[in-house]
Symmetry: C2
Subunit: 366 residues, 2 copies
């Protein structure tokens, strides 16, 4: 245990219990001859690890049997291409909701492969992307092959406060920064994907949860490594998978199960987010620029309104052991990422620091 | 240190010195607050790691400045698609030399994107793929956009004993199982790629060394994540890279430099391979089925000629601490992978075991 709290948006900190177990097992199995860093993906040991990781994730998220769970490489960015390449039919139409950079990049990538429309966007909000557009079924083209959303926006600190009603159109969601932070009804989505480095494991792995009927229809130009069918048929072993990340994911899933599952994660995350948002709402030194009804529970944005003070804040917070609070370069200000690994003590320490910083740095004219 | 020797073809064992340093640094930086498993790719710390990894690899392999070094995800299999997607011109022609499964898979993937020819193959050898075809410039189409080879075949235990003369045609080589085992003249290749899990780092990273003039010409259908230009322009940070694997690769490169570089690796690897091949050539119980002039230094194949004895061998060797000697399922027999991490003691222990096994298990009729 230490007094450093890492608020990075990802790669993010890991729970102390998970890190300790990883370290202990690394020492232990090194003594026995083959460490997990050297484990063959073809071994009985790893077969147990990957099956257990999948079983634990299915239990945690209550994933129905008609969904496949894939552990892949290449980050969410690779999925930006895999999704249209696997899901577009001969019509090649899909609708995207734009709520920030990630969904815009997903949209730009998909445009290579079909007739891709922006069904809704919060680019015009003030400040840009500070809310999530409300959508109804009428916003989506009835012949769209799928609708794509980014469920929680890491950069702008917003989150969908509803699941879009797309009727029979498959709904695809990038959940990189919200997965495992609370229960979601998987059946409302046709495909959920998430890069590991925020709430699952070290960077280098992507989880894809995909309904069976969307598998097996890849476009002819699809690289083998982006074809869901090849991965599903080989249980994520079409080529050598990122063994260590899958092992770490298993440790993470088991840890979450051991402390009470996603209901407990939600309770903890709501408590942490409230601690920070309640403070933000109680004073005028800092501003939380995001539409209250779309506030992210995992990525909390705040600004002083003075770029120089923001810079000073991040620098002094870092010296005080509150790391990586600088906002994304495209937004500025501060961002505190409160994934499952962040403790309530960490958030309390942040709020405490914020109070002192505000006292010590009065604004001119205030 | 332990008495277990892991002869796996990959994911493979790591040098004891590299593992120990990884473990020490994990404990140490966890104590200081942020472990390398949690390190942000955007941090100053990681910027130092990735720059140092690249600099060390450039020094080790003597990589000229007109080549980019990329640290990517997705394994060699992703490169099977990235190579044609980036290197095919409007002509869309390329020539492949087939020396086993990996090069065949690379060829099948490339066929999606152009007029791909088999310039030479050792499929017809007896046993299949037990040699590497000799090629001359006349074997390659003068208008081919590139020629692709697999420099060392992990499954069949063969290695090119020459660099094909392709004239002005860019030569592309998969070096997954031979990279860093000995010096190569990088200038003879236009592109070298290698997955990490054999001789570089834990599974989940791929090194691509590519000449500048081959960057920036990706086919229109290329997914962003397979476009070399995007990765080169962002110095392998187009999206979140596999931070831990890049860190481990840096430790590996530094370790190789510290013990004498690739000349020393070659000396060690030749000594280890000779120990095993000399024994194989000195007796009649085991057979080394590979053409002598194309023997791999890193993957040594041998058989007893009796499938039941082979199975017994692998099982008893495992109990004796000689792990993962079972040959690839498509070949059978035994395979001993002697990457940089394998010590001479390990090979001596294997030869010793082989002698005892032969004595204890006389063949019927022998």
């Amino acid at each position: 245990m230490n007094n450093v709290y890492n608020f990075a948006a990802g790669p993010a900190q890991l729970p102390e219990a998970v890190l300790r177990r990883a370290q202990d097992e690394l020492s232990d199995n090194r003594r026995r001859g083959i460490s997990v860093l050297e484990m063959s993906h073809d071994s009985r040991e790893f077969s147990t690890v990957i099956k257990s990781a999948e079983a634990s994730l299915r239990e945690l998220m209550n994933i129905p049997q008609n969904y496949k769970v894939l552990f892949l490489q290449g980050g969410a960015t690779t999925q930006f291409a895999a999704i249209p390449l696997n899901l577009l039919s001969e019509r090649r139409t899909a609708d995207y909701v734009i709520t920030g950079q990630s969904s815009r990049n997903a949209y730009l990538q998909a445009k290579k492969y079909g007739d891709i429309a922006i069904a809704a966007s919060s680019a015009g909000a003030s400040p840009a992307f500070s809310t999530v557009p409300e959508t109804t079924r009428a916003d989506f083209r009835p012949d769209a092959d799928y609708v794509h959303i980014c469920y929680n926006n890491t950069v702008y600190g917003t989150k969908f406060n509803y699941v879009p009603d797309t009727g029979n159109i498959p709904l695809v969601a990038n959940m990189s920064s919200s997965i495992l932070s609370e229960p979601v009804d998987v059946t409302k989505f046709a495909l959920i994907y998430a890069s590991a480095q925020k709430n699952i494991a070290p960077a280098g792995m992507t989880v894809v949860i995909v309904r069976d009927d969307l598998i097996g229809n890849a476009r002819p130009e699809t690289p083998f490594m982006l074809d869901y069918k090849l991965h599903a048929d080989s249980r994520s072993m079409y080529n050598t998978p990122p063994v260590y990340q899958i092992y770490m994911a298993k440790l993470m899933f088991d840890w979450i199960l051991s402390v009470g599952g996603l209901d407990e994660m939600k309770r903890r995350n709501e408590r942490k987010a409230s601690l920070l948002y309640d403070y933000l709402d109680s004073q005028h030194y800092y501003t939380a620029p995001v539409d209250k009804k779309c506030r992210s529970m995992t990525n909390v944005i705040f600004i002083t309104g003075d770029a120089k003070l923001d810079t000073k804040f991040a620098k002094e917070a870092d010296r005080a052991g509150l790391k990586n609070l600088k906002g994304h370069s495209s937004v500025g200000g501060m961002r505190a990422s409160l994934y499952n690994s962040m403790t309530e003590q960490g958030v309390a320490a942040l709020v405490d620091f914020m109070k002192h910083f505000a006292e010590d740095n009065p604004k001119l004219g205030a």
